[in-house]
Every structure is written in C-alpha cells, then in structure tokens.
C-alpha cells in the first residue's frame, strides 16, 4: 500500500497520501470522490498522529484483549437450531428478490 510509511512495524511516522486513501477506499469497497480526497488525507494525518501515542503506552508483556472479559456460557452444541424467522418478511427487505434467490448483477 502506498502510505508514505516510514516505519510500518511500529507505526512511527506513518502517513497516508492521496494514493493511499484511494487504496484503502478500494479495500473497503467505498467510492470516494476526487473532491473528498484532500480532507480524507488530512483526517488520516490527524488520526494517525492521535493514535501514535499508543506506542508510549504499549507494553510487550500485555496480552491483547480481543474481547471484554466475561463469564459467558459454555459454547453450545454444534448442531443447527432453527430460528422462528419469517422468510417472506425477511425477503421484503431485499432490494431484488426472485424466490428463493437474491438477485444481483452479473459477477462475470
């Protein structure tokens, strides 16, 4: 990715330039207009500067917290459990529905 990165390993000095914004937008499947790009570059600049301070707080021996600690139930048995869903009602929200298929433009 074109980000003008100086040190991607620790995030120091990383910047995202115009080409970088376009590449990230493509990854996110988000169209961006040319007119939006300068503001997004500035936003990335400010946000990356803001979050860069995490480096000074980081401690290598801390385990990553992937989720909040919890005392959740045991995992349920790996068997299908039908939910009482009304398929027709759900299909009403589909932009294009030809029962029992969602219709989309051609992939190829």
């Amino acid at each position: 990715m074109s980000t003008g990165s100086q040190d991607a390993a620790n995030g120091a000095g990383v910047t995202v330039d115009e080409r970088g914004v376009r590449e990230i937008a493509a990854l996110a499947q988000l169209p961006v207009q040319d007119s939006e790009i300068p503001a997004l570059v500035r936003h990335f600049e400010r946000m990356l500067e803001f979050v860069a301070r995490l480096e000074e707080a980081d401690r290598a021996d801390a385990a990553p917290a992937l989720h909040a600690p919890r005392a959740a139930a045991d995992l349920r048995a790996d068997v299908p459990t039908p939910r009482p869903m009304d398929r027709d009602r759900m299909a009403q929200n589909a932009p294009d529905w030809d029962a029992p298929f969602f219709v989309s433009p051609p992939v190829i």
Binding site: M1, S5, A8, A9, N10, G11, V14, V16, V21, I24, A25, L27, A28, Q29, L30, P31, V32, L40, H43, F44, R46, M47, F50, V51, R53, L54, E55, A57, D58, R59, A60, A62, A63, P64, A65, L66, H67, A68, P69, R70, A71, A72, A73, L75, R76, T81, R83, M85, R89, M90, Q92, N93, A94, P95, D96, F102, S104, P105, P106, V107
Partner: protein
C-alpha cells in the same frame, strides 16, 4: 380512574399508579404519545411513533388488569427504542440512508423481554448514523436538539432517547453505548443513563457498531427505574454467546461504601464548573457516610486513542455486510463490484471516515502497529480498573468534560467531537458497568452529569450509590423547559 401521574413521575411511580388502579393504561399511553410528539416538534428526537401497536398493547394491558391479573414488573410503562435496535413495529434504520424503510423480521431480545414484562413500545428514537457520533448531528434523518436549550446538542449517539427522557417522565428509553452513547447524552440532557456490564444485556437485534464494546441500556428519570428496566431485560440469551450467565443482583447491604476518585478524571480539559459540581456531589456522598479515596488510573489518557483504533477496526468489519445485495438500499450498477460501491456510497461522512480508518488499521503491514498494539493497551486499561476495584466499590467522576455545546460547533472537526468521549470510552474498553446521573446545572442552566463506574458484574453497587444520591438530591426530578407539557 384516569388520574395521570405528574409529568416528572418516574417509571416506577407511574407503574405504582397503574397497579393501584388510579391510572388507565390506554388513557396514559394516548397521553404519552401526545406529549412526546409535542416534545419532538421542538427537539426532533423521534424517528417515528409506533402508535398502532402501542395502543393495541395498552388495551391488552388494561384488559389484563381489569381481569384481575397481577401486574407485570413494567405493566403499561411506555418506552422507546433507539433506531438501531430491531423492533417488529416500525422501521429499524439506524438513521442511515442505506437502511431507509428497513423493517426487521425479528425483535431484539431486550425489546422482547421488556414487552413480556409489560412495557409498551411507543416509538423509535433518533441517533447518529449507526451510533457513530456524540451530538446526534450525524443522523442522516435530522439533527436532534437539547430540550434544555434548543440551540444546544443533546449529546449522542442516543440523543433522541435522552431528549425525550428529559422532556417527560413515566416512560424509559432504550439506548446503546459503544463509547459513551448512553451516558454522555444522559449527562447533556439531565437524565439517568446506564451502560451495563458487557454481556449483561443481549446484543441480539442491536445493529452492530463495535461488537466487543456495544451494550444496550436504559435512559430513565431515576436510578431505581434503571434497575427495574435492567432486571427485566438482563440475562443469558442463546442468540448472543457473549451474554453473562450469572444473574445481576441488587446490593442490599448497608455497609458504608468506599468511593474512588481518580485524579485522571479531573485532568486538563475538564471544565471547571463541571469539575466543581461533580466534586460537590462526591462531598454529599461523603457527608452521607461514604469514604472518598483518591485513586489513579494511569492508562486513562490513552483510552480514547485505543478506542479509536479498536472501534473503527470493528466498524470496518461489521459494516462490510451492507453491500446492497441482501437488504438495504441498492445503488444502481451494471456489475457486482459497482453495486457494492454504489450501495455503500450512501453511508454518511462520519461512517465513511470510520470505515476507512478501521480498514487501514487492519490492513497488511499496519495491523500489528495499530490494531494489535491497541488491544494490548486495552488490557492495560482493564488492569487499571481491576486494580482500582480491589480497594474501592465504585469510581466517581464527570461523564463529559464539557457542558452541552451549540449545534454545529464541532461537527466539522471530528477530533474535537471524539474528545467529548474521553471520560466514557474506558468503561467500554474494560467491560465495566457505568452510569451517568444529573448533579446540577451550570451557569447557563445546562445539565451536568456525574459518572459512576463499578466492577464488572456489580450493577448492584452502582445502582445503590446512584439511588442514594438521588434520595439526597432532586436534580433528577427536573424536567427540561422545552418538554412535552404537563401530565
């Protein structure tokens, strides 16, 4: 038969009136619909009323009571759900153009449990799109105004819920809190707002923003109301594997409590008037027999940066489901790639910014430097809370560093808006319960919020302290001036 309670009555007081037979549920719900519709005219707090189903439920409740059945815990109590919580009545749009007209085929577990407890859904409230914002100005439908002063924001993202809770009593309002979205608007609108322990309330039917941080909770007139609502909707849910198994229990002890006052909660950036009002509240609790202890949570200063990385990463993942294929508004396109892009072009500016940042911090080459690092700092923030709660029962500080600001004041500067969440994001990162309650007005007559945190799973102690404070004060009794009229 229809002696309606006063406009500032709590949900519990209203319920007692229903149980005593003093108040007809149908008449009360009709009146409540009128007053919140009136409040909406000045505040734009509502996305829609669910009048038809509300009156059907009200008639059913009144018939139950007339037949001599025992009142359920929330019999006849009106409530609203934030627009990102699935209901079968009305639409569930998250105030996003991409979900315009979306009608959920199922009900959120929280909503279903509240309805089973007798509560009556009367409408859906406005929010920042998908819950992303701190002022309710990021709604694609309308900006909500603060009923205390209409040129001020109500906070966000549950701004519609907070504005209605401020305008009139009786009912309660379901919100969601990912980084302060219940507590900050509760503070700005002078009402009580509870973010439960992560996992206490099922997230099934809550449109996902950041799944490891999101929680549903109530905005109410009082802490006692919040406890009743929490009791009705809490508990394990087979549809949400992160829900807690252990039940929540009230704290009925009369032992004096130790209240920790973290120095970092009063650091630079906290308005003097806010700090003074919160310290006054602490002094009142001390005079009442609590012990105040100065504590330190050193990683607080990194919480907002940590939150920005963790939450946007989860946003990027969660919102990838909106592609115009299965539901939502579809953008016209000749092929599938353009279909995705043109459909997702309907996201508002703030949602797009967060998706982009989240995509970046998860991307190859940057994942370790940003996302993985933020997860380690999240552990350190959590350990701060664990260490503090080894010595105290609750932590006390301000909810928001500043008073409600004028509409338009920060909307062009996302970082200024993110700074409003500096005191609320830690609770979500640590998974602990936290609550905001009103503790006075500033010189401009705007509400100030007091925030309490408790250890994971200990809503009982949190609500005990909040309830006691509300016995000692009457801030929670005050309605906003641009309210819904007299009850």
């Amino acid at each position: 038969m229809s002696n309606l309670p006063p406009a500032n009555a709590s949900s519990l007081e209203y319920w007692e009136s229903v149980c005593a037979g003093d108040c007809d549920v149908v008449a009360a719900v009709e009146h409540y619909l009128e007053v919140i519709e009136h409040a909406d005219q000045s505040t734009s707090a509502l996305l829609e009323l669910t009048r038809e189903s509300a009156l059907t439920d009200a008639h059913a409740a009144q018939q139950r009571l007339a037949a001599g059945e025992s009142p359920r815990p929330l019999e006849g109590v009106p409530f609203t759900a934030k627009g990102n919580i699935a209901t079968t009545a009305g639409t569930t749009t998250a105030a996003s153009q991409i979900l315009t007209g979306y009608q959920s085929a199922f009900e959120a577990t929280a909503v279903a449990r509240l309805r089973r407890a007798g509560a009556i859904l009367v409408g859906k409230t406005n929010l920042d799109e998908f819950g992303m914002g701190s002022s309710t100005e990021n709604s694609s439908v309308q900006a909500t105004r603060n009923p205390w002063q209409l040129d001020r924001v109500p906070g966000g993202s549950s701004g519609g819920a907070a504005a209605l809770a401020a305008a009139h009593g009786w009912g309660f309002h379901l919100g969601s809190d990912t980084g302060g979205s219940i507590r900050q608007p509760a503070a700005f609108c002078g009402v009580t707002g509870l973010k439960p322990t992560y996992g206490r309330v099922s997230r099934y039917g809550l449109l996902s923003f950041a799944s490891s941080l999101d929680q549903i909770g109530p905005l109410t007139r009082s802490a006692d109301d919040a406890g009743v609502v929490l009791a009705a909707m809490a508990g394990h849910d087979a549809y949400d594997a992160t829900t807690l198994v252990d039940p929540w229990r009230p704290n009925a002890s009369s032992q004096p409590l130790r209240i920790g006052v973290p120095t970092q909660f009063f650091a630079a950036g906290v308005d003097d008037e806010v700090a003074r009002a919160v310290r006054d509240a602490a002094a009142q609790l001390e005079a009442d027999g609590c012990e105040l202890v100065t504590v330190s949570l050193p990683y607080t200063e990194y919480a907002n940066a940590c939150y920005q990385v963790v939450s946007t990463a989860e946003v990027s993942s969660n919102l990838s489901r909106f592609d115009g294929v299965h539901y939502g508004q579809r953008g016209a396109a000749p092929d599938l790639g353009d279909l995705y892009a043109n459909s997702r072009a309907q996201f508002g500016a703030e949602v797009r910014r967060r998706i982009l940042l989240g995509t970046f911090v998860l991307s190859a080459g940057y994942h370790d430097a940003y996302y993985r690092r933020a997860l380690r700092v999240r552990t350190l923030i959590r350990e701060d809370f664990d260490a503090a709660f080894a010595g105290v029962d609750v932590l006390l500080g301000p909810t928001s560093p500043v008073a409600p600001f004028p509409l338009g004041d920060k909307i062009e500067d996302p970082l200024a808006l993110y700074a409003c969440d500096v005191l609320t994001v830690s609770a979500n990162l640590a998974g602990v319960p936290a609550l905001s309650l009103p503790c006075g007005l500033d010189v401009d007559g705007l509400p100030i919020g007091l925030q309490l945190h408790a250890a994971r799973g200990d809503e009982g102690t949190l609500l005990r302290v909040a309830s006691r404070y509300q016995e000692l004060t009457d801030h929670h009794r005050q309605l906003a001036p641009s309210g819904g009229g007299q009850g």
